[in-house]
């Protein structure tokens, strides 16, 4: 607590956890949007509706798809609110964003594609396994980068204090 003139000690507290969560909501929604635009619309690899989809899959998909859209708006509003209060930690927000991207990718690859069987990565290919492995490895990689960023953000916050 060496009260410098730029950041007085009575200033608003930086909300590390909230910065991370708000940006993670945006990250999840961004990856969902990439999935929808690139794999559904541009490449046409995913199917809009796979006839093998069970009812519970359709219901879960409807709820989560809507939640992603609302999460995008909520995340942005929350992020803007933290920024305006000077309570945003940029480092935590970047970590949250990448964690959100990875979490959606891995969730989509494991739960949507395999557990709920909403649709597959690609149809009419001899072997689906490489596609599934690449999909989930990308998710794990993003999660790893996000975790590294989160640890670095936490360390930086501690040395500043």
């Amino acid at each position: 607590m060496t009260g410098s003139p730029i950041t007085p000690s009575a200033g608003p507290p930086v909300r590390a956890g909230r910065s991370l969560t708000a940006a993670a909501l945006i990250g999840v929604a961004l990856m969902a949007a990439v999935d929808e635009i690139v794999f559904h619309q541009i490449l046409g690899w995913h199917h809009f509706y796979d006839r093998s989809t069970p009812k519970v899959g359709l219901l879960t998909d409807g709820l989560l798809h809507t939640a992603e859209l609302l999460g995008l708006v909520t995340g942005f509003a929350w992020w803007a609110d933290l920024r305006r209060r000077r309570a945003l930690s940029s480092a935590h927000a970047w970590a949250g964003l990448v964690l959100g991207l990875g979490a959606f990718q891995l969730y989509d690859g494991l739960v949507d594609h395999k557990l709920l069987r909403l649709h597959q990565v690609r149809y009419r290919v001899p072997d689906l396994l490489p596609y599934d492995l690449a999909w989930n490895a990308a998710g794990l990689l993003l999660l790893g980068i996000g975790a590294v960023l989160a640890v670095r953000a936490a360390k930086a916050a501690r040395t500043q204090r």
């Binding site: 608003p12 809009f48 509706y49 006839r51 359709l58 219901l59 998909d61 409807g62 709820l63 798809h65 809507t66 939640a67 859209l69 609302l70 995008l72 708006v73 909520t74 942005f76 509003a77 803007a80 609110d81 305006r84 209060r85």
Partner: protein, 272 residues
Amino acid sequence: MTHPHHEHGSGLDAIGHAETVLALGTAATVVAYLAAAGALRRRGDAWPWRWDTCFTAGGAALVVALLPLPGGEFTGHMIQHLLAGMVAPLLLVPARPFTLVLRTLRPGRPRRALLTLAHSPASWLLFPPLAALLDLGGLWVLYRTPLLAATHDRPLLHAAVHARMVAAGVLFTAAICQLDPVRHRWSPLTRGLTLLLAGAAHAVLAKTLYGTPPPGTAFRPDDLHTGAQLMYYAGDLVELALATVIAVHWYTATGRAHHRAVQSRVPPVPHP
């Protein structure tokens, strides 16, 4: 029978009549809105021009929804319903029509009657989950019972279904946005959760329509697929717009509270 071009069977004339009446009613409502807004401005009230533009665009969307539209039968029907039930309400509600009526009416019997209605149990229709149930429930009934097939050769039923779609859409949009003065204020959380469930019900219905047509109808598969995907993605856009309205309201309201707290130098209350 003095119709020389009587070529599409007896139903078409009646459909044409119902649609003409609805279109004229819409046009008259827009003219009344613009006249009332003009009167407010002449007496010195601030009434932004963008609200006039919004309301006019909403009216135009309603009229376009009455015209025959391109694409397959089911796709055309879906465009009509998206315009009438979702796009038009999204343009009409932000124009604050109820505020305009209250400001225009002088103190007297019509104004008292309107306020009595607003303070009656009818105001519970604006309870977001109830408004959502009326809107989305009606939609499920339309597509998952033989109702849609029944409207095909019954013009009055068709007009009634169309009018219900508009009314339920306006009710739902008004309940979610809460831009006009309302009796009960519902929190952003209540409205957001309602939007989540309504959006999910819309998305699930759209996906099942892709695989299974409404009972009693025989649309071509490609027509059905285009219509269902249109319903799904247009629903997303409308949902994003509604969520943005709630978020912007929350952001400005908390901003005012934050500003007041900073101005009065009161230390912020710690979160429990």
